[in-house]
Assembly symmetry: C2
Homo-oligomer: 479 residues x 2
Amino acid sequence: MDGEEFRIRGREMIDYITEYLDGITSRPPYPKVSPGYLRELIPDQAPRMGESWAAVKADIERVIMPGVTHWHNPHFHAYYPTGNSYPAILGDMLSDAIACIGFTWASSPACTELEVSMMDWIAKMLQLPREFLFSEEGKGGGVIQGTASEATLVALLSARTAAMHKLREHKPDMTQGQMLDKLVAYTSEEAHSSVERSSLIGMVQMRLLQTDAKGALRGVTLESAIKEDREKGLFPFFLCATVGTTSRCSFDNLAELGPICTQEGLWMHVDAAYAGSACICPEFRHLLDGVEHSMSFNFNPHKWMRVNFDCSTMWFKDRYSVTEAFEVDPLYLKHDHQGKAMPDYRHWHIPLGRRFRSLKVWFVLRMFGVSGLQQQIRKDVLLAHQFERLVLADPRFEIFGEVVLGLVCFRFKGDNAINERLNKMINDDRRIHITPSAVKGTYFLRFAVCASSTQGADVTYAWSVVKEMADKVAASTAK
Amino acid sequence: MDGEEFRIRGREMIDYITEYLDGITSRPPYPKVSPGYLRELIPDQAPRMGESWAAVKADIERVIMPGVTHWHNPHFHAYYPTGNSYPAILGDMLSDAIACIGFTWASSPACTELEVSMMDWIAKMLQLPREFLFSEEGKGGGVIQGTASEATLVALLSARTAAMHKLREHKPDMTQGQMLDKLVAYTSEEAHSSVERSSLIGMVQMRLLQTDAKGALRGVTLESAIKEDREKGLFPFFLCATVGTTSRCSFDNLAELGPICTQEGLWMHVDAAYAGSACICPEFRHLLDGVEHSMSFNFNPHKWMRVNFDCSTMWFKDRYSVTEAFEVDPLYLKHDHQGKAMPDYRHWHIPLGRRFRSLKVWFVLRMFGVSGLQQQIRKDVLLAHQFERLVLADPRFEIFGEVVLGLVCFRFKGDNAINERLNKMINDDRRIHITPSAVKGTYFLRFAVCASSTQGADVTYAWSVVKEMADKVAASTAK
């Protein structure tokens, strides 16, 4: 395909995208296919000779669309939202055209420098402590990671390196393995599964600490865990606190946890993957109170800030603590400007190569403006409260936890089994799509406001489906 | 920006992309900016209100382009190529529009299933052993990782888990740390820096073994290292072999190394990040001889197979060996079809979320056909040999190593210092862009055929620049 053909096919794709997104309610949020459906629809090997665009394009509807879970259908209420917007798509198109690999400053200066500026822009939108900014005199700075899982892992590994340096100072004869056996990390029992996974990768013990009734990890709990572990001769070094858990959007108490971490020499990492976006609204910023005590912080603009996946923004108070954990420096990646005013981002994360992701961020921030992004957050939170009222108005249902942002956790009053049945019926029905969760043995349903186009009528619709299914479940139980 | 505006802006972007790529020779391959250039050109915070597309678009040329290293300029010969093509861009556009997060089968069946099929397609193109395919009866299968660095890390971590299981069977009382202290991994001294980095993350000792004169790690070297380490009471568990090193495109001897790994119980991972693509041509397939002994294999279609970054394809002989290393399983990610015919890819890599990357692979494979992709490889190898002949025709120069694929390593006869000066002059001149490397103390220049549009005239041009600069260096040395 040459440039002249691309001009035509590109326009066709632009039209297709517009029609797909603007007409998405005509497709079910959750597809009706069984595992293995696709293999039957395509050849079992690549074609020898190139095919025409017409053949490829026709297969989008024939092969792909029947098996897509349409996350941007306003009847999709599963997981958490994932970002999408026309400006972000335009930014990604440009990134794909430039197709540079920004591993060092020299490998594409604009790629590194726009990211540096965007990280400062977003830090200011969130009113993050000044120490996290590049533009300050200190050692702060931010980077775009792919996902929050990677951010958590990078934080844990950086903290591990720092802790091992400390241990080695006191006990220079310890082996690496002996040091690892001493290290202990903490997170709450309600933290995302990727946090525990980071400890498996990092080969350190991680304790999942109990939360309070509201799902918050509290200072006293951490304090006594640290004390207990020190008495056992262990070396507590890391806490991953969550602002907006995946299960029920609960909030660890950073203001209590932070000072304890500072005093006890623990690295506090704050994972605000979903909730972070809301903190660009002054009325929600208090959710981050205490973040000033953290060594690293991340949230996902690709969740709730209209930026397409992947874009997980992460800041460090001391950027050298991450580069120290990862730096290896071969000649073929050295350049004249190394180590000067601008970072070499390859030392900041697990991959070496990186796309020009800051373009989509730049396009989104400029075309929506802070005000436009705040509007999105506020609308979605109002919609969640609308759903909450509908739940509360039906005496058969209860809200699980508290509705603070765009997630409503609710359940049919009764045992878990009936809620599991209800969940299955709702999803098998396929008019809306939700996902369940469980906390401390209680199973519940999650209603998340996901697609940016979701409106009040979609919330009413979702509730009508839930109610209809609940009637059926209740009837079958009564029998 | 609504759909109607996107139809217009999208077309503008399509036109911009076409003009950018088709007119790329009018821009220098390496930009003339200093660190910090971009910060001066944009505001220091996000705008309060949304801006117009006209304002954003104008800034692409004003802010971004002056600082871009143009990897797709045919005078760019640095690092290794990175893929780009119109079909891949179209695939990514569609992926961005669907914007699903394919962490489980249920979160978007098409996303998982197309990837499964594409991994089998590519495995067949490479004539990988049948055990690596999903479509076989065994436990094989492949996954798209972001980068080769991640693939290496995933291989090392999977091997580590397997090794620790074995160790635990024999010595159930060992702590994790004690086991880690025993583990030893191997790679060659010429392997990519990310391999060593994976051992830092994995907290295992890694020995960088000596290569032979051609840059190959040989069986006898590995054998004696294993013996030495076993005598020390260590537990050798992993080898990362390279097919096409970054420094000079040398090739470890898989046919010798593989049987030793099998016999000694080591997990052999083969990293063919760059060279792998060439193995779709029968005449280069022998470079992979011995891969049948590996437990895992990866290469980067995003390097030399016209697929845009990121796309690093990785296969396992036993896919359960990777899921076992990473599996954590919360309720909010469970679904009815779990563990059946199709994989849940979230267990196969470091991130949880994932883009619909197989779309761009599918578009590229279908629109180029295997034959079109082979043509690209063959053309680039011929161009490398053309450059090689030009180097050899000048008695002041020598080739370093052997030209097998699209990389020519060469040097001005003399000491390293003169070659460092030559490298600096070529890059400061900015008509072409190259990167140097060094092996066993010898510094040399690397000429890689990168942009897919590179032609014979570009090779002649590059050599004329090198010659001109060499004349200057020689003149200044003679003084």
